[in-house]
């Protein structure tokens, strides 16, 4: 099915120009979708690793001109090879495409291109001329023809995308290299401003984000990835320490359209913030009496202090957004009422219900049987959920399970265990969290699962478990746990906390609302536009994905705000080119773990200061200290600034 005429990508050459259809080779390293978007065929692609041509009508010479012009446009202008070198390349290529080229230009382009690659400071200049050099090698004839015949080339139609491995991996696509560079320069306020262009939750994400960016950090190939998460926290905290209010960006003129948002969690707050920037100060309806949603309910204070969430919510309400606390949709006000009163609705509820363990006794209503999220919420509100109990067993291997055991220690529970049916290696919880819990002397019981809750007089007395062994990998790629017959044993305990997963409670959605709900009890929403089956209702975050990471909820909610804006303006609701290109880049693969980066390793990441286990297990005070100024700046200087520029040629 390969319709690729030519491809050169990261050293892999596929040249079908002189081959017939049957023998045509297929590039393995570069997989290009057929269309950029419906009706717009993807005729060619040029990027940091080379180029690929699908449509023979594409002029490689003009593609090179457009690509170098794009490089010149994003060059930060600081180092000369990139700043001036690419300018000279562009001027030369402009001249050639206008039919004024000279033969010696080719050698000059090659020489200068190589110089820029070798001498530039960051990846913009280090990769910018690479596709040109490849084109000069493999399409030399085409260049010569244009020069010889003084051909005036028509300009192609192109789409440009600037991204980076870290940016691309981040569901919210924060401009990570820029905000890190600002920290390295000491421009901390400016760094925060850059962060806030993409998220209004810098202090929250700076503490609890699962940081997909860090596993896509090119520095990981050299020595250790940057501590991107804590650099973000640093920028947020610095402003907080200096009592600086979040900067209020310029707002679009206020619209008379009204938007309601259900849930003041990461999704709801993010959607509200970006809607407010666009002129819609929305009203948020929140069931609880404080902001943060799952981040407030499910994340204990020692990881995410309450004030941080409140401060971030303040940054949202400062733009005119109203949060109506203690207002539950479906109880205090119905969704249909909202539909009539508001022009658009965003559903951003979290996955706050617990998944059942499907074991005997869990629905019996025993004292001491408390679902994980409920347990954490009660602790977060300052109460011991079950003061009579001293021994705790938590079932599950995710972050909520870890939060439950660590919080149990902090409210003075003596004997705290965690049961997980696989081994430590398969645990979905953050490795750092597991390590910290081990340091705090939580007892981990691997390869066992509960089978029955044992109670006496309506009170939990213990949990019967069965040993497991690992079998073949399942759909998730992890080895499936299989019960070992006859291996049942009893763990005595006063409290059993199931924390094996959460689900979304959509009981407030009724059939008449016109919203399709999936079998998994999530809102059925378009993954590109976040539109539900009801034209004026959008949804993103856990309510659509089921329990998922905070940064995806925040990122998607920002995109949903854009879609709501389109809908309210009567424009067609479709995914923006920027996000489309970002996904295209992801498909192409922005981070190549095999790349030889060519610099010495050994510049290790800065270590955060942490409260010692003995102290921290007794307190809800934040366990991790943020970076001090000097450490943050040193850490920021480790960034390799791996910007990637991709150029898509659109066919006719």
């Amino acid at each position: 099915m390969s319709d690729i005429v030519f491809s050169y990508w990261n050293g892999e050459l596929v040249d079908n120009r002189r081959k017939t259809g049957q023998k045509a080779g297929r590039p393995k390293r570069l997989k290009l979708p057929a269309e950029f978007k419906p009706g717009q065929p993807l005729a060619a692609f040029m990027g940091w690793g080379g180029l690929a041509i699908r449509d023979k009508k594409v002029s490689v010479v003009d593609l090179c001109r457009a690509y170098l012009k794009a490089i010149q446009g994003v060059s930060c202008g600081k180092c000369f090879p990139c700043r001036i070198g690419t300018k000279v390349l562009v001027e030369t290529l402009e001249r050639i495409t206008q039919g004024k080229g000279r033969m010696q230009d080719i050698a000059q382009l090659q020489r200068l291109g190589s110089t820029i690659v070798a001498a530039s400071k960051c990846q913009v200049g280090q990769t910018g001329p690479l596709p040109l050099l490849a084109a000069l090698e493999h399409f030399r004839k085409e260049f010569e023809n244009v020069i010889q015949h003084k051909t005036k080339l028509p300009r192609g139609q192109y789409r440009l995308k600037l991204t980076a491995p870290c940016v691309n991996a981040c569901p919210a696509h924060l401009d990570i290299p820029t905000y890190i560079e600002r920290i390295a320069e000491g421009a901390f306020d400016e760094s925060l401003r850059v962060i806030r262009e993409r998220t209004c939750l810098p202090g929250t994400l700076g503490r609890v984000c699962v940081r997909p960016c860090e596993s896509n950090c090119r520095r990981l190939t050299v020595d250790e990835p940057l501590d991107i998460r804590h650099l973000k926290r640093f920028a947020a905290d610095y402003a907080g320490e200096k009592k600086k209010k979040p900067p209020v960006p310029s707002l679009r003129e206020k619209s008379d359209k009204r938007v309601a948002i259900i849930g003041a969690g990461p999704a709801g707050l993010s959607c509200a913030y970006y809607l407010a920037l666009k002129g819609y100060p929305a009203t948020i309806f929140e069931r609880l009496d404080e902001p943060g949603g799952m981040a407030a309910v499910g994340i204990p204070d020692y990881r995410l202090p309450r004030e941080i969430l409140r401060h971030e919510a303040d940054g949202v309400t400062a733009l005119g957004v109203e949060i109506r606390y203690n207002t539950e949709i479906g109880k205090d006000i119905s969704l249909s009422t909202l539909s009539t009163e508001y022009d658009a609705i965003f559903i951003g509820v979290g996955a706050q219900g617990s998944m059942p363990m499907q074991v005997e006794g869990e629905t019996a209503g025993y004292s001491g049987f408390i679902p994980g999220v409920q347990y954490l919420y009660s602790i977060n509100k300052g109460a011991d959920p079950y003061p009579a109990g001293k021994r705790v067993v938590v079932v599950g291997g995710g972050n909520v399970a870890i939060d439950c055991v660590r919080s149990s220690l902090r409210i003075g529970k003596q004997d705290v265990s965690l049961l997980y049916r696989r081994t430590r290696a398969e645990m979905p919880a953050d490795a750092v969290e597991i390590h910290d819990a081990e340091e705090e002397e939580v007892r981990f019981e691997y390869l066992c699962a509960p089978t029955r809750i044992i109670a006496e007089g309506g009170r939990v007395q213990g949990v019967e478990c069965i040993r497991m062994e690992l079998g073949e990998p399942d759909q998730s790629g992890r080895r499936r746990p299989i019960p070992v017959k006859g291996s049942e044993f009893v763990v005595p305990t006063d409290i059993v906390i199931p924390a094996i997963g959460q689900q979304v409670d959509l009981s407030f959605v009724t059939e008449q609302d016109g919203i399709t709900v999936t079998k998994r009890s999530t809102v059925a929403a378009d993954e590109e536009t976040f539109a539900t089956s009801h034209a004026a209702i959008f949804s993103a975050g856990d309510s659509v994905t089921g329990p998922d990471v905070l940064v995806r909820a925040a990122g998607n909610a920002r995109l949903a705000a854009e879609m709501i804006d389109c809908a309210l303006q009567g424009k067609s609701v479709e995914m923006g080119d920027d996000e489309r290109l970002e996904r295209l880049m992801a498909a192409i693969g922005v981070y190549d773990r095999e790349e030889r980066i060519g610099i010495i390793s050994g510049n290790k990441r800065e270590q955060l200061e942490m409260l010692p286990p003995e102290t921290r297990k007794k307190t809800f005070e934040e366990a991790e200290k943020g970076f001090p100024v000097d450490a943050a700046m040193r850490e920021a200087r480790r960034c390799l600034r791996c910007y990637r520029i991709g150029l898509v040629a659109i066919g006719k």
């Binding site: 930060c76 009592k243 510049n603």
Partner: protein, 879 residues
């Protein structure tokens, strides 16, 4: 808590390497040479420290490295790509090559690319002959460049300040100017604008520019040029003379470039003085008053209301005769002397000898004493001896800094403010600022307390209470200090709630500040007038000094210290040389006490003082005007020695012209106790004479013995007679500090009682007014003269008021308002800010302002004889 990681460089100044301190020694090889470096040092730093040259253009030792110019690339074994030496940390065992064919080609290519756009206007470029790009092109033997590009010529334009021109075509994008602006002064007036070839250094916030010239100083080429002097000269045509700035007490080291006996440029030598390469706008641009046409170049005697130029002999004989007459008729105590704290140590020493030995009176004083004495007395009581703070270099190592008194930025003590900033963001120090206005520094503070002048003692009491209550374990050492039980008792009632209520701030803020101070291992205090210049000024400083002692800022060798930054260059030296009615040189006690300047004015008004000899002071504009007017009007003889006809000159009988700092030899003692040289850079106008000679001649006309000596000889005499200056050299090869005082033994220190009272506001005068910067005018001319360009730009006084209050009164920003105190009134330019305490007014004075002295009241602090310059009852009205 130790000084161990501050390395003292060859010139004795503590030169701090932020990335390198305390780093373990590592071994590496550069160009086949085995060398050692500190962990954290970059390859470039390690190479240069070992005499290995690597070319650079964007690198500047005072700025963070950015690796942009690509000239410092080196090859490291194991790395395929060359790496920039300026940004790559040195590592154990690496093998580095700095000179290879490949590197040479890369460096040449980078330079050739720069030259593609660089104009060839070297012959008319100010930097010609002193240009780093020229040097590099010569060094690499580049005689042609292969690339061609379309150039747009942009010519020159005004930069963020009219005192600097920008030539964008010449810019080599080293970003040093932007980095200096962002890293040293943190004004963010300029930034990089655009992308690709369109990128340029642009002005992003013209109002933020403070004309400090930091950008100009670091420009390696002629992209930024000085726009004060019309005359320019090539380096080989001019002379460079290193001297000490004569403006404020920081004593910045500066290099004057002189051509044909004119200053054409001022720069700061690197790694020298408290300024370490920086200057403020006065230092770098405020030199052109020296060449002002109004400068007086001959002695004058006033007859029938007008000045008459006379020969020196006639003027001095007249002065001598008049002094003799007064002594004969009324005794020597009918004569007083007043000398400017911008005079050299040698001049002050000679003048006090003249007054004490030739005239025979202890009535000698200086406004420098008014600025320093409250601090000196308070610290003396608390530490038990004369106190000398640690250097400002050490301040950078502090982890928590309390700034109180004047606004360091508004008062042009930029260098001190910059050192605080350096500590803030390079080492993460925390900052507590006490000032009614949230100025530039306060905006970077963790805790800003908008206190009214006079509330500092209660703030300190509240802080001490909190520290003792919640953080006593951190203060164990202080509990052994004398007076601790009394301190504890005194502060018992100053609970969080009470303090917060009385000083009008949030309780949380006090709690946070106490926590910051308790956690600090190296707290420091940086204070400046008008702190101490209220009615209970000594108490104000004593209160803060008690707090400093409690949290360990005063004792121990690594302590952050209690710094005092004043408005005049030789504030410290002037008092130490004996320009005080209370003490002799070196603070040696005098057997009888003379009159302070305030008492002299009072005595003149009542006829007890008949004659006054003023050197460089202008009391009409720095002391309560009505008092001074009355005093001066009653004098039989007023001799004034100055460069210009100042306000006070109108009342004088004899005028003696004096030398400018650039024409003088001598020494200043700065606020750190650094004793630094003034060097003669210019030949004085014909017939102008050094003050020492003038006084010697007067003495001889009076038939008194007074040896005619040179500044060097006087300095030698000082080292003999002033115990603080024993063993010092007039031509030191390394920095020298006046001795004594830095070690504060715990057993001598004592918590000292102070009063915390403050008067209530009078309804008629609802504001508390502070005058900041009132002592800055000496020796630069009068309000009437047309201003020299450089100084003119630095001189705009304004009254800062809360924006809402201004609105209520009906005032508009940048408009004018009438400022009224019980003693006088003036019209002032208004600046408004929402971040000024509502009942506070700050009158920031700059050069040439005369009217402010009318606002001062006649009451004085009996301990220091200081008029109140802060906490003055005031009101504001529409004009």
């Amino acid at each position: 808590m130790s000084d161990a990681h501050i390395k003292y460089t060859a010139d004795g100044g503590a030169h701090i390497k932020y990335m390198t301190d305390g780093g373990a020694i590592i071994n590496l090889t550069i160009d086949g040479k085995a060398i050692q470096a500190h962990a954290g040092q970059t390859i470039l730093e390690a190479a240069r420290a070992n005499g290995i040259a690597i070319p650079t253009l964007c690198y500047h030792p005072r700025l963070l490295p950015i690796g942009s110019c690509r000239l410092c690339v080196v090859e490291i074994e194991g790395a395929e790509r060359p790496m920039t030496a300026c940004t790559t940390p040195a590592q154990e065992g690496i093998v580095v090559r700095t000179q290879t064919e490949r590197l040479n080609n890369m460096r040449r290519a980078a330079l050739q690319l720069i030259l593609t756009y660089h104009p060839l206007d070297c012959p008319q470029c100010d930097a010609g002959g002193a240009c780093e790009l020229q040097d590099l092109v010569v060094a690499f033997g580049i005689d042609a460049q292969p690339y061609h590009a379309v150039k747009k010529s942009q010519g020159q334009r005004e930069f963020a300040t009219p005192l600097i021109r920008q030539w964008p075509d010449r810019c080599v994008m080293c970003l040093r100017c932007i980095r200096a602006d962002h890293e040293i002064v943190r004004t963010h007036a300029i930034d990089l604008i655009g992308t690709g070839i369109e990128t340029e250094v642009g002005i992003t916030d013209r109002d933020a520019c403070i004309s400090c010239g930091e950008c100009l100083q670091v420009c390696p080429v002629g992209a930024l040029t000085e726009h004060v002097s019309r005359v320019k000269a090539r380096p080989w045509q001019s002379q460079q003379v290193t001297t000490t700035c004569f403006y404020c007490s920081l004593g910045c080291q500066m290099e004057l470039t002189c051509f044909e006996n004119t200053i054409v440029r001022v720069q700061a030598p690197a790694h020298s003085g408290a300024n370490q390469g920086s200057l403020c706008r006065r230092g770098i641009f405020g030199y052109d008053f020296i060449h002002h046409p109004h400068r007086v170049t001959a002695p004058m005697i006033k007859g029938a209301g007008s000045w008459k130029r006379v020969p020196w002999s006639e003027a001095l004989a007249h002065v001598a005769a008049m002094i003799n007459k007064v002594i004969l008729e009324s005794g020597p105590d009918a004569i007083g002397g007043l000398i400017s704290p911008r005079s050299t140590n040698e001049e002050v020493f000679l003048f006090q000898r003249f007054m004490r030995e030739v005239v025979g009176t202890h009535s000698i004083d200086s406004t420098g004493r008014l600025c320093l004495d409250p601090y000196r007395q308070a610290l003396r009581a608390v530490v038990g001896r004369d106190y000398l703070p640690p250097t400002l270099d050490a301040l950078v190592q502090s982890d928590c800094i309390v700034v109180a008194g004047g606004d360091l930025d508004a008062n042009n003590n930029i260098i001190a403010a910059n050192r605080v900033r350096e500590a803030l963001w390079r080492t993460g120090a925390r900052l507590i600022v006490l000032h009614p206005w949230r100025g530039r520094l306060a905006k970077e503070a963790d805790c800003w307390f908008p206190l009214l002048p006079g509330d500092e003692p209660r703030w300190a009491l509240g802080m001490i209470h909190l520290l003792l209550e919640h953080h006593h374990e951190a203060l164990a050492a202080a509990q052994k200090i004398k007076g601790f039980p009394e301190l504890k008792e005194t502060t018992r009632e100053f609970t969080l709630e009470r303090t917060a209520k009385e000083i009008g701030c949030a309780p949380d803020l006090l709690t946070e500040a106490a926590k910051l101070l308790a956690q600090a291992k190296r707290p420091a205090f940086v204070c400046s007038p008008p702190l101490g210049q209220v009615h209970a000024g000594v108490d104000q400083i004593t209160a803060l000094a008690n707090l400093a002692l409690l949290c360990g800022a005063l004792t121990g060798s690594g302590s952050g210290g209690f710094h005092w930054v004043g408005p005049q260059s030789n504030m410290v030296g002037t008092i130490e040389m004996g320009a005080s009615p209370l003490v002799l040189p070196g603070y040696q006690p005098a057997d009888t006490k003379g009159l302070s300047v305030v008492e002299m004015m009072q005595a003149a008004a009542t006829g007890r003082l008949k004659a006054l000899f003023i050197v460089g002071e202008d009391p009409l504009i720095t002391l309560p005007r009505r008092l001074v007017e009355k005093g001066l009007a009653s004098l039989e003889l007023l001799v004034l020695q100055d460069m210009f006809l100042s306000e006070t000159a109108e009342r004088a009988h004899v005028f003696l012209p004096s030398l400018s700092f650039a024409e003088s030899d001598g020494t200043f003692t700065n606020c750190e106790g650094r004793v630094q040289r003034l060097r003669r850079a210019l030949q004085p106008p014909a017939d102008l004479r050094w003050s020492g000679e003038v006084w010697a001649d007067i003495a001889s006309f009076m038939d008194k013995e007074f040896p005619l000596t040179s500044p060097a000889a006087v300095f030698a005499e000082i080292t003999q007679h002033n115990p603080l200056y024993t063993g010092m050299s007039f031509e030191p090869t390394t920095p020298q500090w006046r001795g004594d005082g830095r070690e504060v033994p715990l057993d001598k220190a004592a918590f000292t009682a102070f009063s915390a009272g403050r008067g209530e506001h009078d309804k008629e005068y609802p504001f508390a007014l502070s005058l900041e910067g009132i002592f800055e005018n000496h020796l630069i001319g009068s309000a009437q003269q047309q201003r020299a360009k450089g100084l003119a730009h630095c001189s705009q006084s304004y009254l800062a008021i809360n924006a809402e209050e201004a609105q209520t009164i009906g005032l508009v920003a940048n408009g004018r308002a009438r400022l009224i105190t019980p003693w006088g009134e003036t019209v002032a330019l208004i600046k408004t800010s929402p971040e000024i305490r509502r009942d506070a007014l700050i009158y920031v004075l700059s050069f040439y302002d005369t009217a402010a002295s009318q606002l001062l009241g006649p009451e004085f602090n009996p301990q220091t004889m200081d008029p109140a310059y802060a906490g003055i009852p005031a009101r504001v009205e529409k004009v």
